[in-house]
Amino acid sequence: MSATAVAAPAVHSLWTTAAAAPIHAPKIEYAQLSPILVVLGAAVAGILVEAFVPRRARYGTQLAVTLIGLAGAFAAVVGLAATGYATTKADLAAMGSIAVDGPSLFLQGTLILVTAVGVLAIAERGLEPQSREVPHVDAFAPQAAAVPGSEDEKAAARAGWSTTEVFPLTLFALSGMLVFPAAGDLLTLFIGLEILSLPLYLMCALARRRRLLSQESAVKYFLLGAFASAFFLFGTALLYGYAGTLDLGGIAKVVTGDAAPNAALNASAHGDALLLIGGAMIVMGLLFKVGAVPFHAWTPDVYQGAPTPITGFMAAATKVAAFGALLRLLYVALPEMRWDWRPVMWGVAILTMALGAIVAVTQTDVKRMLAYSSIAHAGFLLTGVIAGNKQGVSAVLFYLAAYSFVTLGAFAVVTLVRDAGGEATHLSRWDGLGRRSPLVAVTFALFLLAFAGIPLTSGFSGKFAVFSAAAKGGAVPLVVVGVLCSAVAAFFYVRVIVRMFFAEPRADGPSVAVPSALTGTAIAVGAAATLVLGVFPQWAFDLADKASVFIR
């Protein structure tokens, strides 16, 4: 680096270099990053367990390490929130990379709880048919690398192997999800995106049954996900070129014109083209993760093909993390651009709600139907994002917490209804389930009613919060569309309930497996959260309201 060229920067060129200003040692606030660090530590411990613990003891050790790690991380989140980091002491940790503020902590707490419940469903090994030699069979391939149906795989299955790597993979995905909504700059946002995606791509390919569908879903998810993250990254590069910084707060300052003048920046940032294209591409990448309409094509295929416990975890947790990141990007980095992004988001939200609700009606597979329902819910959440006020943020936070537990519970119930070929996901097979096993049918009906937004369930509280925030933010037509779409969506949820309770059961219909305590707990927690957040939502609203201010 030569400092001589600085004296004559009359012609600004790529070949001239600036003086190397001294770089100061970074200050890392480890205590404020502790939730993320604990989860990552548990994941690395999980890898060591995989390497050194004998195969027989791995499952128990992994489950213990995972649950202890999650408990520790949740304790860290609660500790940070209790010492005021959610409100008065909120700040940017690690040189501005991680924002420790209300929305971060609320979403991190939600994500850790969701993962804990998801891990219970993932750890279930009592549903598959078992033999004397292999007493425990889980939902994952005995040996992921073996060709389905080959001798290798049969040998691995006979030996009782299982892919216990799913536990550390889940934790790695969770660590990315914890970083994602808390990212204070675009670099951290990108790393969070990739760390949460890469393990999920792998976990999609691990199903024990219907491997071909599972692997197909992984390929589709991976190719589309990599494509979307390339767009995200190109947008990041353009925004960096526009603002000269990757900080979300710094970008906002350049947009408003409050930033310190910079000759080079003035030479490149005179047009808004970089800002508009860059912002649009980043938002496109986030909308892909969310599953909003022009970028939703992967959702039904991946939800159907992936192993059902993974689908539940992915559907619940990815949505929480991605909406957190979308909120932070739009509210911290681009609030002054809202006259540009709001019309686009209006269109996206309307399309998402309408397509999700209408196409779901034609579905005959339970997992696909739930996938389209998740698309419709992404649309409802977007109306809260569009609201553009503090109430909108708190409504989206509440909705995410409520929705994720309903989703987890619903997919956990899907794992129980089985026939000889594995899970019986075709809707016609669910006829008359209510007569055969009333408890399972009633629980599933509860989750469906929550999806539909019937009062006294968490779905109603969430939709009410989101729609009232949107109406207050001046998006009344959007609320009308949202309510209409909810009505259409309610039709197909009710149709499933009618099938379960009033159709004649088939003679060769599926049986309902009796779950072990693991899946039982997961479903019970999901149902309890659905009812509690539906009947007594006020404390959760207050919590979300307190946590709804972003640090800049």
Partner: protein, 143 residues
């Protein structure tokens, strides 16, 4: 040199990558096209970094992370594509059509196989690889 040249070059590279993803039918080639897109981003970041004289070199730092993550991504992607190839004998993305919206799904009533570990896909396209016992033998592609 003006900033315009590298930025336009990177935009062209990125568009080539997008075209590749959309036009290629082989999953490996699609992966390569995605890599091209990521490298276009790297070029862009480095050019902006130098142009803006960023003392913290945020652009270059992000480039390093992009390179690392691209490596991880390609490794993982190849692994997933290989899994599929071994079972199907093809890595064409056009033939991934088991999962799709259709009026009636292909197997509404899954065959009741007595062996719980047997794979249940009745897929006409799928052909198990000729020698399924050892994974690492070189073998012919499907015609």
């Amino acid at each position: 040199m003006h900033l315009l040249y590298p930025v336009v070059l990177s935009a062209l590279l990125f568009c080539t990558g997008v075209y590749g993803v959309l036009a290629r039918r082989n999953a490996v080639l699609v992966l390569m096209a995605v890599e091209l897109m990521l490298n276009a981003v790297n070029l862009n970041l480095v050019a902006f970094d130098v142009w803006l004289r960023d003392t913290l070199h945020a652009g270059q730092a992000l480039t390093l992370f992009t390179v690392t993550i691209a490596a991880a991504e390609i490794g993982l992607g190849l692994a997933i594509v290989l899994l599929l190839y071994r079972r199907r004998g093809t890595s064409s993305v056009d033939r991934l059509d088991e999962l799709a919206d259709r009026p009636d799904p292909p197997h509404p009533d899954q065959g009741a196989g007595p062996d719980p570990d047997a794979d249940q896909d009745a897929d006409p396209d799928a052909r198990p690889a000729p020698d399924a016992t050892s994974d690492d033998q070189p073998r012919k592609a499907a015609a």
